[in-house]
Amino acid sequence: MLDFFKSLFKPQGSGATAKERLRLVLLSDHLSLAPETIDALKADLFDVFSRYFEYDASQAEVTFDHREREVAMLASVPILRVRERTLPPVALAPEPPAPVAVAPVAVAPVAVAPEPPAIAEPEPELEPVEAEAVEAGPAPVAALEPEKLPIAPAAPRPRKRRRKRNAAASNGKAGVQPGLSAGHSAQA
């Protein structure tokens, strides 16, 4: 019933539909990520968040902010209650790789132009977000706050081997692996 009244005051004409579809399509165009992958990425992120705190799902959102030369991923997640004990990931993961200096989450800016992005400086090997969180014990503040999480270019799509382009970005560990649940991160 509430939806009925809501629809009276917020007409969803096709213009609004067009705008939403365009946003997703352009995001996909810019990042060379399949739309499915973007959805999977968001789902994975929320899985991770929910292991550390309860949050208001109705207000939580992951958006992508287009800047001059990069796309930044912004997560806005209202925290209701931090869990006293971090929940384990859904499935047990294999041994973590040898400890690496915790890479700052910031990555070289991604050029929005559809060519292989130039990496500004050599960067430490990037860890998936989950592994980093575990390594540092209680989740680093960076992962909780609506901090900018610039993502590496052209994260691999599901069911495909990585393109050669990605080799420049990292040794295949850029960003969040689509299709992997939080369970693949290492257990401390």
């Binding site: 007409p11 609004a16 067009a18 365009l22 165009d29 810019h30 132009a113 559809p114």
Partner: protein, 287 residues
């Protein structure tokens, strides 16, 4: 009293020679879009005509080799003797290829070749030609072909600024976005939203100017409403920018004024918020 016949002609502006103070080079602006059929040629012709009507020396360059249309829109198709490729290949002098507009004195056209291919033009040749034109004209407007292939790359070579034309439709916006990504990074392209239908926007059935602008994130140069007058003007070969009574003409004149550096209020389109009762109307079966 004998009647005296005189022929008055205005010579094509020439590049300054010798010790004369060198005039600043004109601005070379490419009008592009990605999507075809959104109004690049019409915009080029009309903004050009409006600038010339303000007294500026303007040349319009048709870069759509093989599919030329700028001449038709200006009504000059019968007067074209030589085209861009003739000039580039030294088969004709620039002066012979430049066609003076029949409506506005300081407006000139450099037509595209019709029976050649875009691959026949090199980027270097285009750059050289545009430089030549900049020395003689205050504004060089380049009508870009649709797409992002050779024709597009040649059209942007030699230009320093871009106007992106986009209609409030999903395919056009998507293509405009792509094109912006392919322009040189230091350019600051401006947006013209063409074929707006305020009635459809009010009904929520069309993207609004704000929607398009928010998605493309470009400074808004102008908004042109959709009117059948445009088709008629094209049929007649007389740019609508010269029609004092047309709101479309007025919109183009505003764009020209802005480009000429005049202080013009920012483009706005009044689209009234749907009223409470019209919401009920659409709920109960109206359109």
């Amino acid at each position: 009293m004998e009647a005296i016949e005189t022929e008055i002609t205005a010579p094509v502006p020439e590049a300054p020679v010798g010790d004369q103070p060198v005039a600043p080079l004109g601005r070379a602006i490419v009008i592009t879009s990605g999507k075809g059929g959104v109004g690049k040629t019409t915009t080029t012709a009309n903004v050009g005509a409006a600038l010339a009507a303000l007294g500026k020396r303007v040349v319009l360059v048709d870069a759509d080799v093989g599919l030329r249309n700028l001449d038709i829109v200006l009504g000059l198709e019968a007067r074209v003797k030589y085209h861009v490729l003739d000039v580039i290949e030294n088969k004709a002098e620039l002066d012979d290829a430049l066609v003076r507009d029949k409506n506005v004195d300081s407006l000139y056209l450099l037509a595209a070749a019709q029976t050649r291919e875009k691959e026949d033009v090199s980027t270097e040749a285009m750059i050289g030609l545009i430089e030549q034109l900049r020395a003689r004209f205050e504004f060089v407007l380049i009508d870009c072909p649709a797409g992002i292939e050779t024709g597009f790359r040649n059209a942007i070579a030699g230009a320093g600024h871009a106007i992106v034309v986009c209609t409030p439709e999903v395919s056009a916006v998507r293509d405009a976005d792509r094109v912006v990504g392919l322009l040189p990074h230091d350019w600051k392209p401006e947006l013209v939203v063409n074929r707006l239908r305020p009635a459809l926007v009010r009904k929520g059935k069309m993207l609004s100017v704000e929607d398009v602008d928010a998605i493309l994130r470009l400074p808004l140069l102008g908004v042109i409403p959709d009117e059948p007058g445009i088709i008629i003007a094209t049929n007649k070969g007389r740019p609508i920018a010269l029609d004092e009574h047309s709101p479309v003409g007025a919109a183009y004149r505003q764009i020209a004024s802005r480009l000429a550096g005049n202080d013009v209020p920012p483009p706005t389109v009044k689209v009234a918020e749907p009223g409470f009762f019209s919401k009920f109307g659409s709920l109960f079966g109206g359109r």
